[in-house]
């Protein structure tokens, strides 16, 4: 893959642990990345508060993507679990996580996904849950497949699960992707490589953990998420 000189967001100091808006290797950034300087937003109640979306919304099987249809999905059954922490390492409690992913063959149940791999009638690929008092979450699903896309010649996305998290405030909102250890596709994937700090890239890769596996049932992966910002206010009473 080509190496680019550091492409800044309109000349500001760069956080190499986050992707830039403009990353030319990822073609879709070219017409969607803002070019004018970002405006510095002082910290106020408008962003140290944030939505408590999801509470009271979650169904019993929402975190088990293998039990949402009449039969069981094909693929390698996995457990994905971990903790959600704030910038001080404190647990983020009672907070919504939403996930979505391709099926084991690398196909999304989405009308725009034209990859000629089979759909699985027993897999929708969407789940959600709330973190518990220690910030823990847990999903049961199947390992997603890699799939091709049209970004560059012979481009393939490494296997990944999309995660959407709210955390304690508007500031802490995060959408990211969780990858699997040792994926041979990392080197040619511009979305993964858009995070230029190699240590930060490691934070997007789940850890295989034999302790999490369930005997004769499912493999286990651990994935902790650290959100930006700090809990301004204890959340215990809410």
């Amino acid at each position: 893959m080509r190496q680019h000189p550091s492409v800044g967001d309109a000349g500001r100091r760069e956080d190499m642990g986050q992707p830039p808006y403009l990353y030319p290797d990822y073609k879709s950034t070219e017409l969607r990345a803002p070019a004018k300087p970002l405006i510095i937003l002082p910290k106020t109640l408008s962003d140290t508060t944030g939505p408590a979306y999801g509470r009271g919304l979650i169904g019993k099987l929402d975190n088990d993507l293998t039990r949402q249809y009449a039969g069981e999905p094909l693929g390698e059954r996995i457990i994905v679990t971990g903790r959600v922490l704030d910038g001080d390492g404190r647990p983020v409690r009672n907070s919504l996580i939403e996930i979505w992913q391709a099926n084991a063959a690398g196909r999304y149940t989405h009308h725009n996904d034209q990859h000629p791999a089979p759909l699985d009638p027993n897999f929708g690929g969407a789940g959600r849950c709330l973190t518990d008092d220690e910030g823990r979450y847990r999903f049961v699903t199947v390992k997603p497949g890699a799939y091709p896309w049209k970004n560059h010649d012979n481009a393939w996305r490494p296997a990944h699960i999309h995660l959407s998290l709210f955390g304690p405030s508007f500031r802490s909102r995060l959408i990211t992707q969780m990858y699997f250890p040792g994926d041979p596709l990392f080197g040619q994937d511009p979305i993964f490589q858009s995070v230029r700090d190699p240590e930060a890239r490691q934070r997007m890769i789940s850890i295989f953990d034999l302790e999490i596996t369930e005997l004769e049932w499912a493999l286990g992966y651990r994935f902790d998420v650290v959100l930006q910002g700090r809990n301004a206010t204890p959340m215990e009473n809410h």
């Binding site: 808006y21 990353y23 017409l31 970002l38 937003l41 106020t44 408590a52 959600r128 992707q177 930006q228």
Partner: protein, 190 residues
């Protein structure tokens, strides 16, 4: 040492079933006596509509109180039917729409007051991290002129990209991701 932050990644094109299965674009019923409709289109740098974006909004209630424990101003009422959060995907023509009520003024930096505004996050394929912007109101000329955040934007044309346009039936807030008419976007101060 505090742990390192998890990097952001794009929402991609396939989020609809997971994030938009429930319609959260109406924060109040359109029949609500104070309901307002905010409509807009998201455009890319070539002026083409963006059909696969998602917008989220966050706002105070009309009294200027946020439904969140960090806003502990108990003298201001909370409305249990109004959470202040909304979410809407763009359609095939890049359009989105929210039905809500106008927020009140809220506290700003250094004891100042901020003009009524709505916080906005924008996610899309091709955005490796979300964009953050604000919707301000056209009938708040005086408050807007005194608002520190708005006034920190020197170019008046750029500043105007944050003020919705009154179209009678609705308020229009178009988002231009790039180009001459680009919307002003924010980054958070520490």
């Amino acid at each position: 040492m505090p742990p390192g932050t998890t990097p952001s990644q794009t929402i991609g094109p396939f989020f609809h079933d997971a994030l938009l299965a429930e319609d959260r674009s109406e924060l109040v019923s359109p029949d609500h006596s104070s309901a307002i409709r905010i409509e807009g289109t998201v455009y890319d740098g070539a002026g083409e509509p963006v059909p696969d974006a998602m917008l989220e909004i966050w706002q105070s209630n009309p009294a200027g109180r946020y439904d969140h424990p960090a806003d502990n101003r108990e003298d201001l009422p909370l409305d249990e039917d109004f959470s202040g959060f909304g979410r809407c995907g763009t359609d095939t023509s890049g359009k989105f729409s929210f039905v809500t009520i106008k927020p009140g003024s809220v506290p700003g930096p250094d004891g100042q007051t901020q003009a009524p505004h709505i916080m906005v996050s924008i996610f899309a394929r091709g955005l490796l991290k979300r964009l953050v912007t604000r919707i301000y109101f056209p009938d708040e000329e005086e408050a807007n002129a005194a608002d520190l955040v708005l006034q920190s934007i020197e170019d008046p044309e750029f500043r105007k990209t944050l003020i919705a346009r009154d179209e009678g039936e609705c308020l229009r807030f178009d988002v231009h991701l790039q180009g001459e008419q680009q919307t002003a976007f924010f980054e958070f101060a520490e």
